[in-house]
């Protein structure tokens, strides 16, 4: 089966609740068939609104959403055939697990023996065989979540929406559920649109991530690209840890640029700066900067250690570097850790390729 590149298509979608503020602005988004795409963003960024428009609980103020080539704005939610997992599970508390799963099949008038097979399959997919007769109230949070996932998949929808489904679970359970959902996605090949504000969840599970802010998609790319190559300072800040320097471009040539800070100058990789004199924020991942680098690096500066925090497998070191007192370094814990002591002056080096000169904050 050739998968379609634009199985779900948001075409110039705007959404406003009060006629004054646009919650979603000119959204243009294609989702391929079988893809696991995550909408990631802080609360109020419009990601849940997009999901609700796709599910049919909100209508776009402008623009159109296409599902498998058909415009769906005028189709009511119950005719869209989209599975959905809600934030608080939304299991029907007065029905058993079996009845919860049977609900979408009954309304589709699927014969009982066929429905039973589907329910068995769905329950075994989330490893909950033998729980069919339980009431949702008798299940733990994780089990309820699995039932919700099973219910959203039991009627074989082509598209499943998940609205922060793991938000209410504790950390360990959340991590194991992340893998479980990922495996389910891989084994049945359903298209999943997943909404979360938890970046590690997004990075673990997704094929592609759409980072939302202020009603707009800031960047849509694979998890590694998002982390390694953020295209603007919001994404760089939002995903992972980030060290920044604010300055002005003093020279730009040969794929490199010089950025003048308050009292120093660094080399950086020009991403969104075009010419001299532009303001910029240079973003550098903590693990890309090294203490006393053995190889030659084109940035090498001295900084003073302000704080050392022990984290088990690594140590976080906060350094006052080039006028930025919040510069963070992650040092792997090994015996060769020399003079990481409070107040010491050390040399920090990094490659200009890893220091991305982005838009100013």
């Amino acid at each position: 089966m050739a998968s379609k590149k634009d199985f779900v298509k948001f075409d110039k979608v705007d959404k406003s609740y009060d006629g004054k503020v646009l919650v979603v602005k000119d959204l243009q988004l294609d989702i391929a068939e079988g893809e696991f795409i995550t909408m990631l963003g802080p609360s109020g960024s419009g990601k849940t609104t997009c999901l609700m428009m796709l599910a049919g609980f909100e209508t776009p103020t402008n623009g159109e959403i296409y599902l498998d080539g058909k415009a769906i704005s005028s189709i009511p939610p119950h005719k869209r055939g989209i599975g959905m997992v809600f934030q608080n599970y939304a299991l029907f508390p007065h029905m058993t697990v079996y009845e919860n799963l049977a609900f979408p099949l009954r309304v589709r008038k699927i014969p009982k023996d066929e429905a039973d097979k589907k329910i068995d399959k769905a329950l075994s997919m989330v490893s909950l065989q033998g729980f069919a007769a339980r009431m949702p109230g008798q299940l733990s949070g994780g089990q309820q979540q699995r039932v919700a996932v099973a219910r959203s998949l039991v009627f074989d929808p082509q598209l499943v929406l998940m609205d922060e489904p793991l938000g209410a679970l504790d950390k360990n359970l959340r991590e194991s559920m992340q893998y479980e959902i990922k495996h389910i996605h891989e084994s049945i090949g359903v298209t999943v649109v997943y909404v979360t504000h938890d970046q590690s969840e997004a990075l673990t599970m997704s094929n592609r991530i759409a980072v939302f802010n202020d009603g707009k998609v800031q960047q849509l790319s694979s998890p590694d690209e998002l982390y390694e190559k953020p295209v603007n300072s919001f994404v760089a800040e939002f995903i992972g840890e980030n060290n920044t320097f604010g300055g002005e471009v003093s020279d730009i040539s040969g794929g490199k640029c010089k950025v003048k800070l308050a009292n120093a100058e660094i080399l950086a990789n020009p991403i969104s700066v075009k010419g001299k004199g532009e303001r910029t924020t240079v973003s550098l991942r903590p693990e890309r900067a090294l203490i006393n680098p053995s190889t030659k690096m084109d940035n090498l500066h001295k900084g003073k250690i302000e704080e050392v925090i022990y984290h088990g497998d690594h140590t976080r070191v906060r350094i006052n570097l080039l006028g930025n007192p919040e510069f963070i370094l992650k040092v792997p814990n090994s015996s060769s850790n020399l003079d990481i002591k409070l107040g010491n002056e050390i040399n920090i080096g990094w490659n200009s390729d890893d220091a991305r000169a982005l838009d100013p904050k």
Partner: protein, 417 residues
């Protein structure tokens, strides 16, 4: 393993249970002292009056004590023919004593409950008894009025002999014990209570249904509207609560009377002719309208409190899984509101079944309830034992409904908030 459980001791060697009891005793006493005023209050205002009512409804000592010698003499009477002289003599003796104490009026009232016609003949007997000569009281008493020579009246007196009686309950159901000692219904045209019981049930039932039909959408709106609108709506629902019941009922009288606002409006829009204004008050319609409005909040509030807890995502889930809005409502939302429906219906029904002021004011003759009859006997006929009996019948009716509800829906399934 041995079935005997080993006694667990505390570190000081005291059995754990003893130690626990000792530790808890102080708390238990404190807790009891805290509820003691309420308990005392309940006993005074609830348990005692109901007990007294129960006693009063079956208590028939009054006549027994007024005519002790008569009833003693009547023990050997078979009730077929007129009693012997000794009964008449005993009755005369009791009666003279009553007249001396000026209590013969009470006797006449009491006997009149049992059989109509005692009032006048007792009055006559009192006057005549002053001139009675000693001996042959049978002849003398029978000559006062022909009813004194009627065996029916003597049987009526004999029926008042027991100290306790269930006849008030029978009377409440339009039944009585006839001369042969069988329980029979009174004549068709004198059956007033059965009609009232049925009407009470009917009005309470339909008021509950109307309240439910109106309250459900209101409660749903209240639970789903944004805060600023729902607060306003809540005030509208509660506003009647802050107004006196009498004022509300009186305003319904202004609205519903024949020259009232509602009728004026109907005439104004040409729905009815001016000379043919419908009567909406002093009949069942009045009771229905006013009681539904007054009891509406009692349905809205339990429904609201239950609906408030139903997450809107459940309805969404129902729809996203393919249920039409109606299916999602009927299969998901409605079953979850049943605890509220149960609480609201039970509350409204029980309140309606004992409603008094509103039907008394707007119900007229065809819209009054059993409670009005109870009040009538409390205030006008002063037959308190009959009023008590009907009150208890009403109470047991409510308990039966409560029991039925528990059987069908389950009382744990009730939610008042």
């Amino acid at each position: 393993m041995s079935s005997e459980t080993k006694q667990i001791l505390t570190t000081d060697g005291i059995p754990l249970e003893v130690s626990l009891k000792k530790a808890e005793r102080k708390n238990k006493i404190k807790a009891f002292l805290l509820v003691a005023p309420l308990l005392f209050f309940l006993i005074i205002t609830y348990v005692f009056p109901i007990g007294d009512m129960l006693f009063r409804s079956v208590d028939d000592k009054m006549v027994t004590q007024m005519l002790p010698k008569t009833f003693k003499a009547m023990e050997n009477w078979d009730g077929q023919e007129l009693p012997e002289e000794e009964v008449f003599a005993a009755f005369h003796e009791d009666f003279i004593k009553l007249v001396e104490d000026k209590r013969e009026g009470k006797l006449s009232t009491q006997l009149n409950y049992t059989k109509n016609g005692f009032k006048s003949i007792i009055k006559k007997l009192r006057r005549a008894s002053k001139k009675f000569e000693e001996g042959n009281y049978k002849e003398q008493i029978m000559s006062v009025h022909k009813r004194w020579a009627d065996v029916e009246y003597w049987r009526a007196i004999q029926r008042r002999a027991p100290e306790f009686t269930g006849q008030k309950y029978l009377k409440g159901m339009d039944m009585y014990v006839n001369e042969e000692g069988k329980i029979v219904s009174v004549e068709e045209d004198r059956r007033i209570h059965r009609v009232l019981w049925l009407r009470t049930l009917e009005i309470a039932f339909f008021v509950t249904v109307f309240c439910f039909l109106m309250a459900y959408p209101i409660a749903h709106l209240l639970a789903t509207l944004p805060m600023k609108y729902s607060n306003l709506l809540m005030i509208c629902v509660l506003l009647p609560f802050w107004t006196s019941l009498l004022v509300r009922t009186a305003s319904w009288m202004i609205l519903l009377q024949q020259q009232g606002i509602v009728n004026d409006f109907f005439v104004g829009i040409g729905l009815v002719a001016d000379d043919n204004r419908p009567e909406m008050m002093y009949n069942k319609t009045g009771s229905y309208v006013a009681m539904t409005q007054i009891l509406l909040p009692f349905m809205v509030l339990p429904l609201y409190s239950v609906m408030k807890t139903i997450s809107p995502s459940l309805m969404r889930a129902g729809k996203s899984l393919g249920g039409t809005p109606f299916v999602a409502f009927w299969k998901v939302y409605f079953p979850l509101t049943i605890p509220g429906i149960g609480a609201g219906c039970l509350l409204v029904f029980i309140l309606a079944i004992g409603y008094y002021i509103t039907p008394a004011l707007v119900g007229g003759a065809s819209g009054t309830l059993i409670s009005n009859q109870i009040a009538f006997h409390m205030k006008s006929t002063l037959d308190w034992s009959f009023a008590s009996a009907m009150g208890l019948m009403l109470l047991s009716g409510v308990l039966v409904i409560y029991w039925l509800y528990n059987k069908i829906v389950g009382i744990d399934n009730i939610k008042l908030g």
